[in-house]
């Protein structure tokens, strides 16, 4: 009896260590294979020039259009989502703080729309575009991606704002402030680090998602110069280059994947670093 018990525990402990190692190894393999394949086709020209004629048959050029396009699109969407998201998160935690059921209902709705697949946002964004007579453009892409990252941003800000202690609100009220001053002057400052993390998380989502911009942002070989024109994005450029039968173009897709991965890793690194740095402004109770 005792020996089978011991054997069972040992068996499962080995299995657990194997699965844990599996996850770590998989991450290693993903990063390694993307770097290994990507570095081969990586060149300065890839990063600094737009596709020239015949790029998709293996001739010269680069993916600057997609890099700049993705950054512009993700910045635009993140700023727009921030302008809508921060007020909602503040409203939930300052104005509705005593109405627990209503706040929980809003959280519930946000969780629901967080789970909606990005391709559905893409389809919806396209419907919206047709409705208002918009072509595939940077603007349409920004609006669609904004809708897609809004729930992510609000929920992660909300998780930070709800930890602000009651005592801080009471102290602020006692000095004669009103609710919106409490929200924008005290709550935001107390939660700076969390808000930055939420923004960077959303930025990472915005730059990496392909399905939502597939029909809305379009694709172009030029650098973005107007809100009303199509814009290239990195995920789509990877996708299109991979579909090519020419091996050189496929190799460039791997290099583009490397660029995207590096951007994501940098964003994730920043969110850890910045989060720690702004802890200083926080009042500890």
């Amino acid at each position: 009896m005792k020996r089978t018990l011991k054997a069972e525990e040992t068996f499962f402990r080995v299995l657990m260590n194997l699965t844990t190692a599996f996850i770590l190894i998989i991450l290693g393999i993903i990063i390694y294979s993307v770097f290994e394949k990507g570095m081969k086709a990586m060149s300065w020209e890839m990063l600094t020039s737009v596709p020239s004629g015949g790029y998709y048959y293996g001739k010269g050029g680069g993916i600057l259009n997609a890099i700049v396009g993705s950054l512009v699109l993700a910045f635009g969407a993140t700023i727009l989502a921030f302008l809508i998201g921060l007020p909602v998160a503040l409203y939930m935690n300052v104005f509705l703080v005593r109405r627990k059921r209503l706040v929980n209902l809003i959280r519930f709705i946000l969780d629901l729309i967080w789970g909606v697949p990005s391709i559905v946002y893409g389809a919806f964004g396209f419907t919206l575009m047709v409705l208002v007579g918009l072509q595939t453009s940077l603007l349409a892409g920004i609006i669609t991606v904004t809708l897609f990252i809004l729930p992510i941003m609000i929920r992660s800000m909300d998780e930070i704002l709800r930890t602000v202690p009651m005592g801080l609100s009471e102290a602020t009220y006692s000095l004669g402030s009103n609710k919106s001053e409490l929200a924008f002057k005290i709550f935001t400052r107390q939660s700076v680090s969390g808000i930055i993390t939420a923004v960077l998380l959303s930025f990472g989502r915005a730059i990496g998602d392909a399905a939502s911009v597939l029909f809305t942002a379009g694709y172009t070989d030029n650098l973005p110069n107007s809100l009303m024109e199509p814009v290239a994005t990195l995920p789509l450029s990877i996708f299109f280059q991979l579909a090519s039968p020419v091996p050189e173009v496929q190799a460039r897709a791997y290099a583009s994947a490397l660029v995207l991965t590096v951007i994501i890793l940098i964003v994730s690194l920043f969110s850890r670093g910045l989060g720690k740095r702004y802890h200083k402004t926080k009042i500890n109770f």
Binding site: F22, I84, P87, I109, V116, V120, F126, T127, A211, V267
Partner: protein, 296 residues
């Protein structure tokens, strides 16, 4: 100093907040309403039963049978869940119960990075590693000729993609179990594994089921990574080595060419509506499941 006085600023800020909140509150209804409105054209001429159970997909002839796509999606999703659930469960137990505290601090960035990698990069990785692995080793090992682009490849890639999502929830669940419960059990003279098996797992069961449900909803709508490795052949798959086609891939692949046939456009919107409905249904179900269970 300021353009407006305190009260006016309060009014401006307040209306801005309320306006933003209204956008969010109406978003799910707008999503559902918009997609339903667009797929109405298709639903007018075809019955729901026809659409879901018919095999024939010939948009030019006006035949829209979603059965191959639905079956493809269900296979890929269920397989992915079967692969990743045990891995996540064992890892979550290991990280929270057995491993040192320090290890959790390594695990968190790993989960963050896995969750942050864009789905297109997962697709590239699938093409580089998983597809050749299946066509060269796994297929021949089972005596099957395969290109590698198959339901199984989609499921593999998808299972890796949802690991961070499910694992994160499971770790939170195991951490939320009170230490007193564990100590009380151990004080009865059980081994650690007995404690895990008979007490922790039972206590965490509803949470585990919910995390798998959320993972399922997430996996069902995943587009790009699956699209890149699943093969995209419109046929009901008979084995996991067959190529398949999923609902999100259907939308993503065909969007450019549909505008000439209004019913085709409507059909793709119907596919998006199915995805939305499945995602909302599973998320709702799991939320109510947790809410109900938490009462006891």
């Amino acid at each position: 100093m300021y353009l407006l006085n305190r009260h006016q600023r309060h009014v401006v800020n307040y209306s801005w907040m309320l306006f933003s909140l209204l956008i969010i509150a109406f978003l799910p209804f707008m999503l559902f309403g918009g997609l339903y409105f667009k797929s109405f054209l298709l639903l007018k001429t075809h019955t729901l039963k026809d659409l879901v159970f018919s095999h024939s997909w010939h948009p030019s002839r006006g035949e829209f049978g979603f059965y191959p796509f639905i079956v493809g999606s269900v296979w890929v999703t269920l397989l992915a869940i079967f692969i990743s659930t045990p891995i996540c469960l064992l890892t979550a137990i290991n990280v929270t119960q057995y491993a040192k505290k320090r290890f959790l601090r390594i695990m968190h960035p790993v989960i963050d990075i896995l969750a942050g990698i864009p789905s297109v990069v997962y697709g590239v990785w699938g093409i580089l590693v998983i597809v050749p692995f299946i066509s060269r080793y796994l297929g021949p090992w089972f005596g099957v000729q395969t290109m590698g682009y198959s339901i199984l490849a989609g499921a593999f890639v998808l299972s890796i993609m949802i690991i961070p999502f499910i694992l994160n929830i499971m770790i939170e669940i195991f951490r939320a179990i009170p230490t007193e419960l564990k100590e009380a059990t151990l004080s009865l003279g059980t081994t650690k594994w007995q404690m895990v098996k008979h007490v922790l797992l039972r206590k965490a069961l509803p949470g585990i089921i919910a995390s798998v449900g959320f993972g399922l909803a997430r996996a069902f709508g995943e587009t790009m990574a699956v699209l890149m490795v699943v093969g995209n052949v419109i046929k009901v798959p008979h084995s996991v080595f067959d190529p398949g086609y999923t609902l999100p891939a259907l939308i993503a692949n065909n969007y450019g060419e549909v505008l000439s046939i209004p019913q085709y456009d409507s059909a793709l919107m119907f596919a998006a509506l199915i995805l939305l409905a499945v995602s909302l249904f599973f998320n709702l179900l799991m939320h109510f499941f947790i809410a109900r269970y938490n009462k006891y």
